[in-house]
């Protein structure tokens, strides 16, 4: 898996095993990811989801030099992010020659109870 970028360090992201063959990222609660008092910032959750989506995309890659250009990103916030560690994992629903459709979910206590879900379309630039 590729190295995580500087913004992942700002969020305090770390790898935390795998789920269904895809890398799981973990983010601890702290002031650096705080929104309104006592809750995660939606931007931090989005950042985590984006990193999980990128990680899944890299894991699913067919090899060769591929640059990923994000086309769009849509996030649904389903539950408040509380003062707990948050996990996220991505899933590539379709990997084409030019486009990857990727989903990601974020959860705290159980993956069955997601706090947010994202969809991301990525343009794959090869060569």
């Amino acid at each position: 898996m590729i190295a995580l970028p500087p913004y992942a360090d700002l969020l305090g992201l770390r790898r935390d095993g795998e789920r269904d063959g895809m890398p799981v990222l973990a983010m601890d609660f702290g002031r650096q990811v705080l929104g309104r008092p006592g809750f995660l910032h939606g931007g931090a959750i989005s950042g985590l989801l984006e990193m999980a989506a990128f990680a899944a995309s890299h894991r699913s890659g067919r090899g060769g030099a591929v640059r990923i250009k994000p086309v769009n990103f849509t996030v649904d916030f389903m539950r408040a992010g509380r003062e707990l560690p948050t996990h996220a994992v991505g899933h590539v629903s379709r990997l084409g020659k030019r486009i990857a459709n990727v989903e990601a979910i974020a959860w705290q206590e159980s993956p069955d109870v997601p706090i947010a879900a994202a969809r991301m379309n990525m343009l794959l630039v090869r060569g």
């Binding site: 190295a3 970028p5 500087p6 913004y7 992942a8 360090d9 700002l10 969020l11 002031r31 650096q32 990811v33 705080l34 929104g35 309104r36 008092p37 006592g38 910032h41 939606g42 931007g43 931090a44 989005s46 950042g47 985590l48 984006e50 990193m51 640059r67 250009k69 994000p70 086309v71 769009n72 990103f73 849509t74 996030v75 649904d76 916030f77 408040a80």
Partner: protein, 154 residues
């Protein structure tokens, strides 16, 4: 003074004053970490910005900023635009947000994000906005989103 107290004093002042809110938020939490600051506002919009910084980069090869800081910027500008439109603080949370990346942000350029609350119902606020890095006619991202009020709006 706790974070909660800071926020309470900033948002329960008479009416709603975005400059005070953003100055408070600047010292706290994720938006403070990114360095988001207030640029200006109108009847139904708020513009915020943050400077390019190496720690915000999402693609080390190009120096392009990750989407997280941009979403944080637009999410915050959206929240504030709802409050300036309604003239008071109403507790609300983001329901969904969509970002279209029109082009990469240029490294070392300040990112400006302006969001407008264009419709409010009893339960939902609808917003849209654009981000640019110097030329408003050449936006780098377009954002659309909805927020849901946690208790009864005006």
């Amino acid at each position: 003074m706790s974070d909660s107290d800071h926020f309470s004093s900033a948002i329960h002042a008479s009416g709603f004053e975005p400059t005070q809110f953003i100055e408070t938020a600047r010292m706290h939490g994720h938006s403070g970490k990114i360095g988001i600051r207030y640029n200006g506002h109108g009847d139904d919009w708020v513009e915020l910005s943050f400077d390019w910084h190496e720690k915000l980069v999402g693609d080390s090869a190009t120096g392009t900023i990750a989407s997280g800081p941009n979403i944080t910027l637009m999410d915050m500008a959206s929240s504030l635009s709802i409050w300036v439109r309604s003239g008071r603080y109403i507790p609300q949370v983001t329901l969904d947000l969509r970002v279209d990346y029109l082009r990469p942000a240029r490294p070392h350029h300040t990112v400006h994000g302006r969001c407008e609350c264009y419709r409010m119902t009893r339960s939902i606020a609808f917003m849209r906005g654009q981000a640019h890095d110097g030329d408003p006619q050449d936006p780098l991202a377009h954002v659309a989103g909805t927020f849901i009020f946690l208790d009864n709006p005006a």
